[in-house]
């Protein structure tokens, strides 16, 4: 049985459909990548799984529980077993790096201070920021902040982690280390990982299964080998990052030439 089962998911922002009938299975112990053009709703999908947004139709089950039927207390209990890395990092700006990573431990356990220190330093060491522990979040670069957030997401040893753009803003070296870290953690701790990323090559390298989303639907799914061999021009364009093809770069609307010539703007 999959850890996460999404069935017939519909979600709207006002009149705009973000998802229209999406089905996704996320299997235990595997790394599943969710890819798609910017603005398709990948972050929205993670928020739906985390119970921060409510679907207009359809269900999301995590570990056999329907996320949106849970009571407040049950939802918070479930979230203790989910880690999430926010696209923006979402670090608490009034406490330093060490305290940020220690935050979930302090909130949910009564471990002694010495053990908290060991745990936090271990996690910070893994992301290469052990010696940055006294910095405030405002003193970090975007890439460093995301690595701290990654360390924080791992602290409670959750059953799954959702990574929203973990590789954005990383130099090639830390990128390589992070890819390995996510891969290694997944296998060593029997974690389930969901990676949202635009870095097709890096993600495809470690993902066991890939979903391609666009226009509110799952366009293609399969292992990276299967996707690379896919005959769909859409998939080929996305996986290879070609500028020309069926995937639109522009936010939908009237054509550029019509916009330039439209008289109502000229007053």
């Amino acid at each position: 049985m999959p850890l996460i089962k999404i069935r017939d998911l519909h979600f709207y922002r006002g009149d705009k459909a973000i998802f229209e009938g999406v089905n996704i299975d996320i299997h235990r112990g595997k790394i599943t990548a969710i890819m798609g053009p910017s603005g398709t709703g990948k972050t929205t999908l993670l928020r739906l799984i985390g119970g921060q947004l409510r679907p207009d139709k359809g269900t999301i089950e995590v570990d056999g529980q329907d996320v949106h039927q849970l009571s407040h207390a049950e939802l918070y209990e479930l979230r203790k077993r989910m880690g999430m890395l926010f696209q923006s990092g979402a670090l608490l700006t009034d406490i330093n790096v060490f305290e940020n990573v220690a935050f979930p431990i302090r909130e949910h356990t009564t471990l002694p201070e010495s053990m908290i220190r060991d745990l936090v330093l271990m996690k910070l060491q893994a992301v290469g920021l052990r010696c940055a522990r006294d910095l405030m979040p405002g003193e970090l670069s975007g890439g460093m902040a995301r690595r701290v957030a990654l360390a924080r997401a791992m602290t409670l040893d959750p059953m799954m982690i959702m990574y929203d753009e973990p590789f954005a803003g990383q130099d090639p070296i830390s990128m390589g280390i992070l890819v390995n870290l996510i891969h290694h953690m997944n296998n060593a701790m029997n974690l389930t990982s969901i990676i949202v990323s635009h870095d097709v090559t890096e993600t495809a390298e470690i993902a066991d299964f890939i979903y391609l989303l666009s226009g509110g639907k799952v366009i293609e799914k399969g292992s990276s080998v299967q996707l690379k061999k896919s005959s769909s021009p859409w998939v080929q364009q996305f996986m290879q990052g070609l500028p020309d093809g069926p995937v639109p770069f522009h936010y939908p609307g009237v054509s550029f030439s019509d916009d330039l010539l439209s008289p109502e703007e000229i007053s």
């Binding site: 979230r79 935050f103 409670l156």
Partner: protein, 259 residues
């Protein structure tokens, strides 16, 4: 024409919806307060930010308001040869009205706007969402301690304001204008009633503290999560608080001293 009526209707609906949200928010916050019994340090920390940091402002403003009252009161009373009653005038004005009202207005400007900006920024930088996903309820962890701190601080600040103000009135009345200090204090003590005056003033300041803190926290929590949205929410906190304080002051005054 139709469009105007429509937009009026939309505005009305949005306003009522917002008022509804504000009340749900209040119940969630109040439900989170008992849990703070185990998290005393959170409240103490907020008492510092909300209360102690407003202290200097309250102290200085109270002193000046009291000195002005002393001066103005003396000029009026002296025409009737009643300058001995200056103490009564100063203390009643402060304890009944100016203490709670002016300190609440200052509190809204100093602490209320800071609360809104802080919560609004935490929302717009996804810190509140981040907490939710770490299974930490931001209403209990972030909002409730601030609410309690505001609720506790406000009556204390109002009391300080009144006390300092009376001292300011005494400084001007006795030191500058030469009112007999025995008469100043004894008339004040004789004419200021514990239940009728002091307690009613305290009730006012408790009500104002509750309302201002509620408005400030709700505006922050409900802010549009952008820099512009947070800026607007901060302004709204000050404006709405001022309206609420002055309106409620009238209502409370009618209830307490009207009949």
């Amino acid at each position: 024409m139709i469009e105007t009526i429509r937009s009026l209707g939309r505005w009305g609906l949005a306003t009522f919806e917002r008022i509804g949200r504000a009340h749900i928010f209040l119940f969630q916050v109040l439900a989170g307060i008992p849990g703070l019994a185990f998290r005393g340090s959170l409240v103490v920390q907020q008492l510092f930010y909300v209360g102690v940091l407003s202290f200097a402002l309250i102290l200085v403003s109270g002193l000046f308001v009291g000195m002005v009252l002393g001066l103005q009161g003396y000029n009026t009373l002296v025409d009737f040869g009643a300058e001995e009653s200056l103490g009564v005038l100063v203390s009643l004005s402060l304890v009944r009205e100016l203490g709670p009202v002016v300190s609440a207005l200052l509190f809204a400007g100093r602490a209320g706007s800071a609360l809104t900006a802080e919560i609004g920024l935490m929302k717009s930088t996804e810190q509140l969402s981040g907490m939710e996903m770490m299974a930490v309820d931001p209403i209990r962890r972030v909002i409730a301690p601030r609410f309690l701190a505001g609720f506790i601080s406000m009556p204390l600040l109002a009391a300080v304001f009144s006390a300092v103000g009376i001292f300011g009135g005494y400084l001007v009345g006795h030191g500058l204008l030469g009112v007999d200090d025995g008469a100043f204090w004894s008339q004040m003590q004789a004419k200021t009633d514990w239940y009728g005056d002091v307690l009613n003033g305290v009730i006012k300041s408790i009500v104002f503290g509750f309302v201002v803190t509620w408005i400030a926290l709700f505006e922050g929590y409900d802010a549009v999560p952008t820099s512009e949205g947070v800026g607007r929410a901060t302004t709204r906190t000050v404006v709405h608080s001022a309206f609420a304080i002055l309106g409620l002051d009238f209502v409370l005054t009618v209830l307490m001293f009207g009949g």
